[in-house]
C-alpha cells in the first residue's frame, strides 16, 4: 500500500503531538500526568521515525521505533516504581509540594 499522504503530513501530526506532550510536561503538576505527556512525546517521535523510514526506504527507523518501545517499557517500570514509592511514604504526590528542597 503506498502512503496515502505525503510524508510531511505525517511529520506535521508528529510535531503537533510532540508539542502537546511538551506543553503537558510544563503545565501539569501531577507526576503521573507529566509522565503520560512524556510518553506522548516519545510516541510522536516514533511516528516521525516511522515516516522517515517509509519515505527513505530505509530500515533504520523501524529498528529505532522498536528500541524506543522497549526502552519506554523499561522507563515506565522505573518511573512508576519511583512514584509509587514516594506515594507510599507521602500519601500524596504533587510536584509543587516537593518542597523539602528549595532553590
Amino acid at each position: 500500500m503506498p502512503m496515502p499522504m505525503p510524508p510531511n503530513a505525517f511529520l506535521l501530526v508528529s510535531a503537533i503531538l510532540f508539542t502537546i506532550g511538551v506543553v503537558g510536561v510544563l503545565s501539569r503538576r501531577n507526576p503521573l500526568v507529566i509522565f503520560m505527556s512524556i510518553e506522548l512525546m516519545l510516541n510522536a517521535v516514533n511516528l516521525s521515525f516511522m515516516t522517515f523510514s517509509s519515505a527513505l526506504h530505509s530500515v533504520d527507523g523501524w529498528i529505532f521505533v522498536f528500541l524506543v518501545l522497549t526502552v519506554a517499557a523499561a522507563e515506565v517500570v522505573i518511573g512508576l516504581a519511583i512514584i509509587v514509592s514516594i506515594f507510599r511514604s507521602r500519601q500524596e504526590i504533587d510536584v509543587d509540594d516537593l518542597n523539602s528542597m528549595k532553590g
Binding site: L12, A15, L32, S37, S53, H57, F66, A73, V77
Partner: protein, 184 residues
Amino acid sequence: MLAGQIAFYVLAAAAIGSGIGVIAFRNAVYSALSLIVNLFCLALFFLMLNAIFLATVQVLVYAGAIMVLFLFVVTMLSPENDESLPTPDRLGLWQRGAAVGLGIILAGAIGYIVVGQAALHPDAVATGAQDLASQISRNGNTEAFGQALFHGFLFPFEVTSVILVAAIVGAVVLGRRTSSREGE
C-alpha cells in the same frame, strides 16, 4: 487513494484530540484513557506506513501492557487526586500560560521546518533502499524487519536486554524497600 486520505484526516484528528485530552483532563484516569486512544491511533498510522509488525507491537505492548500498568497505578494512587481540588495556585496560571506560549512557538518552529520546506533530500534515500525493497518483495514486510533486527541490528537488540535487566533490578529495589520499612 481518496479513502486513504479520508482515513488519514480522521486518524489525525483523533490522535490530536486524544493528545489534547491527555493533558487537558483534570482527572488522571481520563488522561490515561485518552493516551490509550492516542496510542491506538498511532498504531493505525504505523499500519498506514506499512509497518505491520510494529503496529501490532504498539497495540500489544504500549496500548496493552504499559497503559494497563499506568491505569493500575493511577487508580491505586487515589483517583480523586485531581487538580479540580482547590489548591493554592499562585504560580499556576502564568506557568500554564508560559507553557502554552512556548508550545505554540515550538509547534510553529517544527511545523515550519517539516512542512514549509522540501522535506526530504532525494539523495537521503538511503543506499540500502534497494536492499530493503528487494528484501520486502522477496520475504515480505515483517520478515524484512526480522532479518534486519537479527543481522545488522543484533547488537542494539542485545543491549535492550541489559536495559531490561537494569529496569527489573531497579523495580525490585524500589518495591522491596517500601515493604521492608513497613515491616519495621
